[in-house]
């Protein structure tokens, strides 16, 4: 809401500059989005008087005007506005001026005739089209006759005022009015705002003769009406129009403008009905009925819901209560009798109605945040009195009441020690009492206990904590000291699980993978790919886009999206890992999924980009990624043998280049190449991936690092090369060697694979180095030879190996 600085000055004696005032409001009350002047960015725009005008010789709609802009000579300005007229005071943009939209005006020629500037319409000097009064919408604007020629126009249009745009939090609905802001500033600056209260001049006819009200109290706890007769509809005076347009409201006519003015001033939404259009004399506040329709003032037709609240006459709805009036009871130029509604509607009902009808108005926003229940009648009085003054109306006697509410101050107790205990301050008894008084609260002090009576203007305050906030903000958050929690010492440390998760990330980063954070919400298809177990999917009931409908059940698909993003931007070498959650459901009817930490990697192109190496030969392959996974698992020190078991069970993986990974027989994940058709669907290059169940890894028993003495006895090695069928795997060979290796076999290492030329087809050559060592004595050649021969025999007999 934009609050006028000069309006506030009517009630307070503000010494602070508008900018400083904005800063003060921000530090003490609510956020301030901006402090601006409507004339910001405009210059050399002055009052001019059209002395004479004649038609442009070469145009049928342009007029050549001689304008007095305060110089010795008249200025010739060409104008095309339909309402241009002699003797009028107008807005003139001089040559070298800057008008709305940062447009510069220069001396120019229009169809051969010199024009020294421009005569402006309101929307040309920065007015939003939404606030320009209808009568000035299609032409230039006429200033008041006593405007001084040659002077800047800004003061005449309220454009020299400062507007403080406050962003009011949901609890501070009281700040959505000039009076509310003035009260708060009064507390901040320790001034009593000079707020005026209306004296209504009534005629003798009772309003109750004209209307009776039938109100459902659950919908409208307070519902009142005043009636004003014999109004003369016309435009509002300029001071009122200025207040409205500076607040972002379009001036309409003296009756409607009064209701909007009262809303700005008091924060009480009012609605004015044309009494002449209301059928019967009973006005109801009720739920809408099935099938009812209402066309609102913005000319939109609404199909009403049975939970919407309406104001209705004896036949039809005439307003969407608390939101917007109906077109069928609109004030127009012929209106003579006005029924002014001043009410309080139940906030949640208004909120729902506004949401359902997708119609959010100033009125609905005020009702949603609450209004001052003690101010309903005063607002109606003020409006009626203004209609009397501005529209010559006769205010009928009394307020008609449909529902009412006994407004009482809220009593809250708090002690000084509680204040200082919570705020960490050392405030004195008087200081706190003074703050309450400045806020306009009643306060009684008994010992160190304050009994505070909070008036209805601050309906957000109910409990001691609310009072603490008031004390803190008025005292000043700046002045609160800065300390750290004292009290018993606590131990801060990561848990084992958290440490292992951090370690996991560090290890994979050290191995060359960059951490990615992908979206957990994905498409239904991607959510269900690369599955490590069976699971039903979890879907949003009302997703925002088709790309994010389902919770992921794997991390790989997100990483492939990331690779696709990179590949599409010609980044070919991508090495990523992600640590995050997947969401499983054991059955479709399980409502809440279980959440599991996984860790996954995806590498495409080269892991180590060396421009001196052929990129193709250097591209990542299964074994490079396997090396990374092995090293990672090794670093986690998980007890038990890691096995890679060939598998073709993942539809999204290459059937010949994929392995399940098991530890001590427990499945913990998989590794391999993404299936070419899946890669094509993702629009990515050849990519290798792995995904592991991090929760399972964390839970597995770990090897303790323990020192193993380094043998002082030398080791002896023997090499063996085997010619075996291609179907024989490294794992099979190793298993045989380990099985028959004897007590002193310390390690086996594959050092050559060959399946090229010179070998019989279907055969491959594998070569291993076997290392023998006795930790307690020097091995003899004989002992080694004996053991080595046993191994060779086994390989021949078990695997059909030909020893070469």
């Amino acid at each position: 809401m934009k609050i006028s600085y000069s309006w506030l000055q009517e009630y307070l004696d503000l010494k602070a500059s508008p900018k400083d005032l904005g800063e003060k409001i921000e530090r003490s009350s609510v956020e301030v989005d901006s402090v601006t002047q409507p004339s910001d960015g405009l210059k050399k725009i002055v009052v001019g008087k059209i002395v004479s005008m004649e038609p442009h010789p070469d145009s049928d709609h342009l007029q050549v005007c001689q304008v007095d802009v305060g110089d010795e000579e008249l200025s010739q300005i060409v104008c095309g506005a339909p309402n241009v007229a002699a003797d009028k005071k107008v807005i003139v943009a001089l040559p070298g001026s800057r008008i709305g939209g940062n447009v510069k005006i220069k001396r120019s020629k229009m169809r051969g005739v010199v024009s020294n500037g421009m005569i402006c319409a309101l929307d040309e000097i920065g007015f939003s089209k939404d606030v320009v009064p209808k009568e000035w919408a299609d032409g230039i604007y006429f200033l008041q006759d006593d405007a001084k020629v040659g002077e800047p126009v800004f003061p005449y249009l309220g454009m020299d005022d400062y507007l403080i745009d406050v962003d009011v939090t949901p609890n501070r609905g009281d700040m959505l009015s000039v009076y509310g802001v003035a009260r708060d500033l009064g507390a901040i600056y320790d001034q009593t705002p000079q707020l005026n209260h209306p004296q209504v001049e009534e005629v003798s006819t009772p309003a109750a003769d004209k209307v009776s009200l039938d109100v459902d109290k659950d919908l409208a706890p307070i519902y009142t009406m005043r009636v004003v007769e014999n109004v003369k509809i016309q435009p509002s005076p300029r001071w009122l129009q200025i207040k409205l347009w500076n607040a972002g409201m379009r001036p309409i006519n003296n009756v409607v403008d009064v209701t909007n003015y009262i809303l700005l001033k008091y924060g009480q939404p009012l609605h004015a009905f044309d009494y002449g259009k209301v059928s019967g004399s009973t006005i109801k506040a009720r739920y809408a009925q099935k099938g009812e329709k209402l066309t609102t003032l913005n000319e939109e037709e609404h199909e009403l819901n049975e939970k919407d609240i309406v104001i209705a006459d004896d036949q039809k709805p005439i307003a969407l209560a608390g939101v917007m009036g109906g077109l069928n009871s609109e004030i127009d130029d012929h209106t003579t009798t006005v029924a002014i509604e001043s009410a309080v509607f139940t906030p949640t009902l208004i909120r729902k109605t506004a949401q359902r009808q997708n119609l959010h108005t100033d009125a609905s926003q005020h009702f949603e945040r609450g209004v001052d229940r003690g101010g309903v009648e005063e607002a109606a009085d003020a409006a009626a009195e203004m209609m009397h003054e501005l529209a010559d109306g006769d205010v009928l006697k009394g307020i008609v009441t449909g529902s009412s509410y006994d407004v009482k101050d809220v009593i809250v107790k708090v002690t000084l020690s509680r204040v200082n205990h919570v705020l960490g301050t050392d405030l004195k008894l008087d200081q706190v009492a003074d703050i309450f008084k400045r806020l306009g609260f009643g306060v009684q002090v008994d010992g160190e206990t304050y009994t505070v009576s909070v008036p209805s203007t601050r309906w957000d305050i109910h409990i001691p904590a609310d009072l603490l906030e008031e004390v803190a903000r008025i005292y000043g958050y700046d002045k609160i000291p800065s300390t750290l929690p004292s009290g018993p010492t606590t131990v801060g440390a990561l848990t084992e699980k958290q440490k292992l998760m951090r370690d996991s990330r560090h290890v994979l980063e050290a191995l060359g993978l960059n951490q990615a954070i992908s979206y957990a919400l994905t498409t239904e298809t991607k959510a269900g790919q690369f599955m490590m177990r069976e699971s039903s999917e979890t879907q949003l009931s009302w997703p925002m886009t088709a790309d994010h409908t389902t919770l992921r059940m794997n991390l790989i698909s997100g990483l492939l999206d990331d690779i696709a993003y990179n590949n599409a931007r010609r980044v070919k070498d991508v090495a990523l890992y992600e640590q995050g959650r997947v969401f499983y459901k054991d059955a479709a009817d399980q409502v809440r999924p279980s959440e599991h930490e996984h860790i996954a990697g995806a590498v495409s192109g080269q892991l180590i980009v060396d421009p001196l190496k052929n990129a193709k030969n250097n591209a990542v392959d299964f074994y490079q990624l396997k090396g990374i996974v092995e090293k990672y698992l090794d670093n986690l020190a998980i007890k038990g043998d890691v096995e890679f078991v060939a598998t073709d069970r993942y539809p999204e993986m290459h059937p010949g280049r994929t392995a399940d990974i098991t530890i001590h027989g427990h499945y913990i994940g998989f590794i391999g190449q993404v299936h070419p058709t899946v890669a094509e669907a993702y629009k990515i290059n050849q990519t290798y991936v792995f995904e592991l169940d991090l929760d399972a890894l964390i839970d597995m028993p770990k090897d303790m690092d323990q020192f193993e003495p380094i043998s002082k006895y030398p080791s002896i090695t023997r090499d063996v090369a085997l010619l075996v069928d291609k179907s024989v795997t490294n794992a099979q060979v190793l298993a045989q060697i380990q099985k028959r290796g004897g007590a002193y076999l310390k390690s086996v290492a594959l050092f050559d694979i060959y399946d090229g030329k010179n070998l019989p087809s279907g055969k491959q050559s594998l070569a291993y180095t076997l290392t023998y060592q006795n930790p307690n004595a020097t091995l003899t050649d004989d002992e080694v030879n004996h053991a080595f021969e046993k191994v060779q025999k086994t390989l021949t007999s078990e695997l059909g190996a030909e020893i070469r």
């Binding site: 530090r27 939090t169 705020l423 904590a465 000291p481 929690p485 009290g487 954070i517 009931s541 409502v591």
Partner: protein, 348 residues
């Protein structure tokens, strides 16, 4: 010519020969020639028996001196030649030290992870625990126990991805306040914890909105925790993450789960507080929200709000990273362009 004269001649001439030898192979040949069994010195010593006995010792002594001298000269020359050879080799081995170093593989933590780790370490050092909670949360913890009953208008502030009526993607890490408050045994000491994690909002992704982002929640509850403690803690966070050349401003705000509530701003790092487009000409940038835990939140979790109280805060690592590094589009964090990810590798 006496034998001595002969030897003297050999000494003179051959010393020069030694100096003139150009390579180690010839030097070796010369050594054999001079000092070998058939060499002149050996010959001369052999001829010694023809000398009178009284001259023999002197002659022998002289012959040995000559031999030692020649030997010494040969060794000196050998050292020289070896040195020359090494120098030549070294000259040949000269490389272009400006060629690039060999690439090694090294990955980076995600920039948001870096910020979360930094926050975690800061708070661990102050005795906080790090706790994480479910991303798929119950309405009860996400809203109701955070003092946001079903019809509360502030629910509109956060558009929510619901899975069912009662289950949703958490919109904030605050439900961990309720979850830990429920469990914490205050007889064992104060509650001091932070909770980092992913949160979700029903938003259209654009430069400043993401349907997925991160939060770190913090809460401290004990018998005597003050708003001054909150202020000190918030200042510490801002200084740790942004450096202490920045001022901090606290101002009133509203969160249903705290009362009083505050929002903390830091001096705009772009303009130093003068006002610019980044800070919307205010000189300040909002970095986090906090407050004193609302008594309703404590009571709903079964904690006596007359005895216990404290503060809570919530901050956004995504926003911090955007501010700290000048990232202008939040979507960068979730698209994982490696050219983006690898920019945040500087330590310290």
């Amino acid at each position: 010519m006496t034998l001595i004269d002969q030897l003297e001649k050999i000494r003179q001439q051959r010393k020069q020969d030694i100096k003139d030898v150009g390579d180690l192979k010839n030097l070796d040949a010369l050594r054999v020639e001079l000092l070998g069994k058939k060499g002149p010195i050996t010959q001369a010593l052999r001829g010694m028996r023809d000398l009178p006995a009284d001259q023999r010792p002197k002659f022998g002594q002289f012959a040995n001196t000559v031999r030692d001298e020649l030997q010494g000269a040969i060794e000196a020359r050998r050292d020289e030649l070896k040195k020359d050879r090494l120098n030549k080799q070294l000259a040949n081995e000269k490389i272009d030290v400006t060629l690039p170093g060999k690439p090694v593989a090294q990955g980076q933590p995600h920039v948001i992870q870096q910020i979360i780790d930094q926050i975690e370490d800061l708070f661990i050092g102050m005795g906080y625990q790090v706790l994480t909670g479910p991303e798929v949360e119950e309405d009860k913890y996400n809203f109701e126990m955070m003092n946001l009953p079903k019809d509360h208008p502030a629910r509109d502030m956060q558009d929510t991805f619901y899975i069912t009526k009662d289950i949703l993607m958490r919109t904030q890490t605050s439900p961990m306040q309720a979850r830990t408050l429920e469990k914490h045994d205050f007889s064992k000491g104060p509650l001091k914890m932070i909770s980092p994690g992913v949160v979700y909002r029903r938003d259209t992704d654009d430069p400043t909105h993401s349907h997925q982002f991160h939060q770190v929640e913090g809460i401290v509850i004990d018998k005597h925790i003050t708003m001054a403690d909150l202020k000190g803690t918030l200042e510490l966070i801002a200084h740790e993450l942004f450096g202490n050349r920045f001022d901090i401003r606290l101002r009133p705000s509203y969160f249903p789960f705290t009362e009083p509530s505050v929002e903390a701003d830091i001096t705009c790092f772009n303009c130093g507080g003068k006002g610019c487009a980044v800070c919307k000409y205010t000189g300040w940038i909002e970095v986090l929200g906090a407050g004193m835990v609302h008594p309703n939140v404590l009571e709903m979790a079964g904690v006596d709000s007359e005895v216990y109280g404290g503060f809570a805060f919530g901050l956004g690592p995504d926003r911090f990273a955007m501010l700290k590094y000048g990232v202008d589009d939040i979507r960068n964090f979730y698209l994982n362009d490696v050219r983006f990810l690898t920019q945040f590798s500087k330590k310290g």
